[in-house]
């Protein structure tokens, strides 16, 4: 039995549905991300697990115990908020010790555990400061220390990095993941940042319109998106509308704007109107034989990569070329493009095959 289970959870407000029948299981020690654009219901889901919002229907089980209607203070779940939500009138030590104090931990032990938690987030010696006297990054560490000081079995992170600058955010991703692994604490992260979800998670639940559009490992989520939404939300991709001409044992033959593409269907049923996808980094400039020819419309340099837009018979094709040293052809040049059939993905346009075929 999974450590945390959401069974048919829905949340309806008078005029809209935030969550629609979500089922989700999280294993003990797992790091799971709820990833999606704003308004997809990811924060509402987290708030229902934390107990700040009551589901309209469904059950939430934590370690076999039904916590659906349990009060937040009884759940023993650590939460890190987007705004950090530190207590401004308490010192760092007061903040971190608050949970322990509420649990009536003795002063001596409390002080030890505060020290431990602060050391874990590398804030040793700052216990006497007030939140106002700390930088954004330090405040965030205090929020993490406060949540883990009471040694919760489940940790919820609500967009904890969105107020940090890009560099600090990358450092925190790695650091937070390391802390999570060391403590073995089951963690759910809510984020709209796919890089964040990819770097930290064991599994990613891509959410869209109050439902889970895909639930899989970061690798599968990126390489084998199960829905049109997941394939466009996670990373960049080229999408072409086409029609299935023939279904061979291993691949489907799809007609896209007069060009026949051979796309692996991985045993799924594909028929009629479909979308064919290919990631920009999977297309490369061909030296000799090319599958397709086109003209470079735009060329952008972003340091480690060149981004090209090529006009082809399929439509506009985006390509990411690693920066090998020599610049690629100029805008307006004719180029040949090549790819491997295995890198093509196909999904029916109505996107009915949700949660099908993930590993």
């Amino acid at each position: 039995m999974a450590f945390l289970t959401l069974q048919g959870i829905s949340k309806r407000y008078s005029d809209f549905t935030a969550i629609e029948h979500v089922d989700l299981s999280v294993e003990r020690g797992e790091f799971l991300s709820l990833l999606g654009p704003s308004g997809c219901g990811k924060t509402t889901t987290l708030q229902m697990v934390a107990g700040f919002v009551t589901p309209t229907s469904g059950r939430i089980l934590l370690d076999g115990r039904d916590i659906t209607n349990e009060r937040p203070e009884k759940r023993g779940i650590g939460v890190v908020f987007q705004s950090y939500a530190l207590f401004p009138h308490m010192t760092v030590a007061g903040n971190v010790g608050f949970g322990l104090e509420m649990r009536k931990v003795k002063r001596r032990e409390r002080e030890e555990r505060i020290e431990e938690a602060l050391a874990l987030v590398r804030l040793k010696g700052l216990g006497h400061r007030y939140p106002k006297e700390l930088s954004g990054g330090q405040r965030q560490r205090v929020a993490i220390a406060r949540a883990i000081a009471m040694q919760p079995e489940l940790l919820l992170l609500d967009e904890p990095m969105s107020n940090l600058d890009a560099k600090l955010r990358e450092e925190m991703h790695i650091e937070l993941r390391a802390i999570q692994k060391r403590l073995g604490i089951t963690t759910i992260l809510v984020t709209h940042d796919q890089v964040e979800a990819m770097t930290m998670s064991d599994r990613i639940a891509v959410m869209h319109g109050g439902k889970i559009a895909q639930l899989s490992t970061p690798y599968d989520a990126y390489e084998r998106p199960a829905t049109p939404f997941a394939s466009t939300f996670l990373g960049r991709t080229n999408a072409f509308a086409g029609e299935v001409l023939q279904r061979n044992p291993r691949c489907a033959v799809v007609n896209v704007a007069g060009t026949e593409l051979h796309v692996p269907h991985e045993g799924r049923h594909v028929d009629g109107a479909v979308n064919v996808y290919i990631r920009p980094e999977k297309v490369h400039l061909a030296n000799g034989d090319a599958r397709i020819r086109g003209r470079i419309a735009t060329r952008v340099f972003i340091g480690n990569q060149w981004l090209l837009e090529v006009e082809t018979a399929l439509g506009k094709l985006r390509i990411a070329q690693p920066n090998h040293g020599a610049p690629p052809p100029q805008e307006g040049d004719e180029v040949g493009l090549d790819w491997t059939d295995d890198d093509l993905r196909v999904l029916t346009q109505d996107g009915k095959e949700t949660l099908h075929g993930h590993a």
């Binding site: 934390a50 107990g51 700040f52 009060r71 937040p72 203070e73 759940r75 023993g76 779940i77 650590g78 939460v79 908020f81 987007q82 705004s83 939500a85 530190l86 207590f87 401004p88 009138h89 608050f98 949970g99 509420m102 649990r103 007030y130 106002k132 006297e133 406060r146 949540a147 009471m150």
Partner: protein, 290 residues
């Protein structure tokens, strides 16, 4: 016209703030200075006010226990009104802050209501309500809770009740403004850390609205210490406060210099207490709140 990046702003700021400055100088600064000057003049029953300089007016106020009692009474009144405003105003604001939208605005309007009514009408209303033959005493006697009417008019209690009624809105507004700045996630954080709603309120919410309570208290204290109409009508001639005492010197005994010195002393005491409190609050909250 001066533009934004013009280094020399020219006359525009002076022209724009001119009317307010004139008003301030003409109606506040000049009378205050004249009052100050007046307080050093000599007064005699026969010659009236003469232009000689003296400190005897101040000495009279400071040394005469009659005035000492009046100053103490005023301090007691202001303290009582402030405490009662905290006790009533803070919970009131918290309940208001948690109300749903249409009711919230309606109730806020009701709370601010006393400020919309003329002071004389409001005070006479209290007379009708609290008087010996007033509504309250009639009800109490009809219910046989008391046999004799409870004296409320011309008592300290009556003054505190009537003044609190009109000054509570200032406390509510001050705490309200403070509560609007609170992050609701902070409360959730307290709950998720194992605090019951009551504990979270006491340990997390209440300390955060202290600056609002303090600034509200300063306003209420200053206004009740210098209140005139309510103490005059509810307190009457017997229970004088500083403001009514000064009034009586001016219009009763016509000893303007003495009245002026009472007024100046009240101003000094008020400013000292208010400044002292806000200094204290600033030092206390400097490293906590922005």
């Amino acid at each position: 016209m001066a533009t934004l990046d013009d280094a020399r702003p020219g006359a525009a700021p002076w022209l724009l703030s001119g009317p307010a400055l004139l008003l301030f100088t003409g109606l506040l600064l000049v009378p205050l200075i004249l009052t100050l000057v007046l307080s050093f003049r000599v007064f005699s029953d026969t010659a009236g006010i003469t232009s000689a300089f003296t400190l005897s007016n101040y000495w009279e106020v400071v040394s005469d226990p009659y005035y000492g009692t009046i100053f103490l009474r005023t301090a007691g009144l202001a303290t009582g009104v402030t405490l009662l405003s905290i006790v009533l105003g803070v919970p009131e604001t918290i309940i208001l802050a948690r109300m749903k939208k249409p009711w919230q605005s309606l109730c806020l309007l009701i709370v601010l209501g006393p400020l919309l009514i003329s002071v004389v009408v409001r005070t006479l209303g209290w007379q009708i309500l609290l008087g010996n033959n007033g509504v309250l005493n009639n009800v109490l006697q009809a219910l046989h809770i008391t046999e004799e009417p409870i004296r409320l008019v011309f008592t300290m209690t009556g003054m505190i009740i009537a003044l609190t009624h009109v000054l509570v809105p200032f406390m509510v507004m001050s705490v309200w403004a403070n509560m609007q700045k609170l992050d609701p996630q902070v409360e959730w954080a307290g709950r998720s850390l194992g605090g019951s709603p009551l504990k979270v309120f006491r340990r997390v919410v209440l300390p955060q609205i202290m600056p609002g309570v303090l600034s509200g208290s300063i306003i209420v204290f200053a206004l009740s210490a210098s209140a005139f109409a309510t103490p005059a009508l509810i307190g009457g001639r017997r229970l004088k406060v500083v403001a009514t005492a000064a009034y009586d010197e001016f219009l009763g005994t016509l000893n303007w210099p003495l009245g002026a010195s009472i007024a100046v002393l009240l101003l000094i005491a008020n400013v000292a207490i208010v400044m002292g409190c806000s200094r204290l609050a600033e030092r206390r909250f400097k490293h906590i709140f922005d």
